[in-house]
């Protein structure tokens, strides 16, 4: 848990704007900075970046729940289940050598809580339960699945349910024919959630540079951003299929 050593803090407030969750406040009584613990997601930004003139910002790991917050909030902490830093997996970034997403399949990366709003595990579990209704194929290496007690019901251990994290990426794939069903569920989740989520759609690119899923998304009335991640196929040995 990160805390501000009250015996050192001089109340200069230099740390306050750095917190992406606005969890650092200045006490009107003591005139010193303090961290609102339930809002802090253990992202580590204040410890790493703030040049506190008194070195008053202290980070210590304290308890399982706070450690898990850190895994889903601090990008330089490798997750035990994936071995890579961040909240997701290699996803499409290494698809040229892993072949995780094949032609005719469409992957989804749903980043719940992002940007900047955050999410509880209880809400992540609700997303999982709703998406299970369309029979998605979950990415087994994803850190979220590693924590689940019950995948079908989207249940996490009780001590985690109300823990808040910066964001959680849900990764799954479906056959191209099921894209519409997934989008319908996402629209329902957008109407009923109390947070935000960013939607990524993963597809193989055809040899003529076309992307078949784009037409499906446009037929569903969705706007596809011009901004995207492209795996340029330089990995070896190359998976073509």
């Amino acid at each position: 848990m990160v805390f501000i050593d009250q015996s050192r803090c001089i109340g200069c407030g230099i740390c306050i704007p750095y917190c992406p969750r606005n969890a650092i406040k200045l006490s009107p009584e003591t005139k010193k900075a303090y961290i609102v613990v339930p809002e802090c997601v253990e992202c580590g930004t204040c410890v790493r970046v703030v040049q506190c003139p008194r070195d008053a910002i202290v980070g210590v790991v304290e308890g399982y729940a706070r450690e898990v917050r850190g895994h889903f909030s601090d990008p330089i902490t490798p997750h035990p289940s994936t071995g890579i830093p961040g909240r997701g997996t290699e996803e499409m970034k290494t698809n040229d050598v892993t072949g995780r997403f094949k032609r005719g399949e469409v992957g989804f990366a749903i980043d719940i809580g992002r940007p900047l709003v955050g999410v509880t595990f209880a809400e992540v579990g609700r997303f999982i339960k709703v998406l299970n209704e369309v029979g998605v194929v979950w990415e087994k290496a994803n850190p979220i699945l590693y924590l689940l007690k019950d995948l079908k019901e989207g249940k996490f251990p009780d001590e985690l349910m109300n823990e808040k994290i910066h964001s959680a990426v849900l990764e799954f794939k479906v056959p191209m024919s099921r894209v519409k069903d997934v989008i319908e569920k996402l629209k329902y989740l957008a109407e009923t959630t109390d947070t935000v989520f960013s939607v990524g759609v993963i597809s193989r690119v055809e040899p003529d540079f076309t992307i078949p899923v784009v037409n499906i998304l446009k037929e569903l009335g969705l706007e596809v951003s011009p901004w995207a991640k492209t795996n340029v196929g330089l990995g070896r040995p190359l998976v073509e299929g």
Partner: protein, 209 residues
């Protein structure tokens, strides 16, 4: 981990923003992975990236650049170079192709621009991750001009309050837009924050607020 995804802003601004990510899959055993990444860094660095990152060390505005280009773990490395022009990306990709390092390379940017570069140098896109933007309670988000800056760190380490603090510092004459952009890049530990684009966006914010 969608740390370079979902950037927002006018298309002309996005066209000046590219992230080249090079990654070793943990499912493959590369001989001399460290040597391959040292060569990768040599190439990324040669074309004047506006930011450089190594997931073992951090970004070039927070850590020593010599460490960034030389320190790697035995397996599972990830590095990034950020560029402000298509020409630079074209040169980087040409060299990465010729070097034939076998590592996975992902370019994030306006994908039609990226596809154009790939065609020119004889590469083909393998897989794409498209963005459908942000859904749900979008009224909880900061103003869009602030999001244009903060989304350049997909892990959301750059705080909207820090953006506004930098705007205030520029207005008071305490910081230049370039210095303020670098301060904003420091929390983005992966090194994917485009400081050049941030500088331009900060200038616009200063005139608005």
């Amino acid at each position: 981990m969608t740390h370079t995804h979902h950037r927002v802003g006018p298309i002309e601004s996005l066209k000046k923003d590219f992230v080249v990510l090079v990654m070793a899959s943990r499912h493959i055993k590369y001989e001399d992975e460290v040597g391959r990444f040292r060569k990768t860094m040599e190439i990324l660095r040669k074309y004047n990236p506006v930011n450089l990152g190594n997931m073992v060390v951090g970004n070039k505005y927070w850590r020593d650049e010599e460490d960034i280009v030389s320190r790697f773990r035995e397996h599972g490395n990830i590095v990034h170079g950020v560029y402000a022009s298509a020409e630079q990306v074209k040169e980087v990709l040409k060299e990465l192709k010729d070097a034939n390092l076998g590592l996975s390379v992902v370019v994030t940017g306006v994908y039609e621009e990226v596809f154009k570069i790939l065609k020119e140098i004889g590469l083909r896109p393998h897989t794409i991750n498209l963005s459908l933007g942000v859904w749900g309670r979008t009224e909880k988000l900061p103003p869009k001009e602030v999001l244009e800056i903060t989304t350049m760190c997909g892990h959301c380490m750059v705080s909207p309050s820090l953006v506004m603090k930098m705007v205030s510092e520029i207005k008071k004459g305490r910081l230049s837009p370039a210095s303020a952009a670098i301060e904003l890049a420091r929390p983005c530990v992966c090194g994917v924050f485009n400081v050049k684009r941030a500088e331009e966006l900060l200038r616009k914010l200063v005139s608005k607020y």
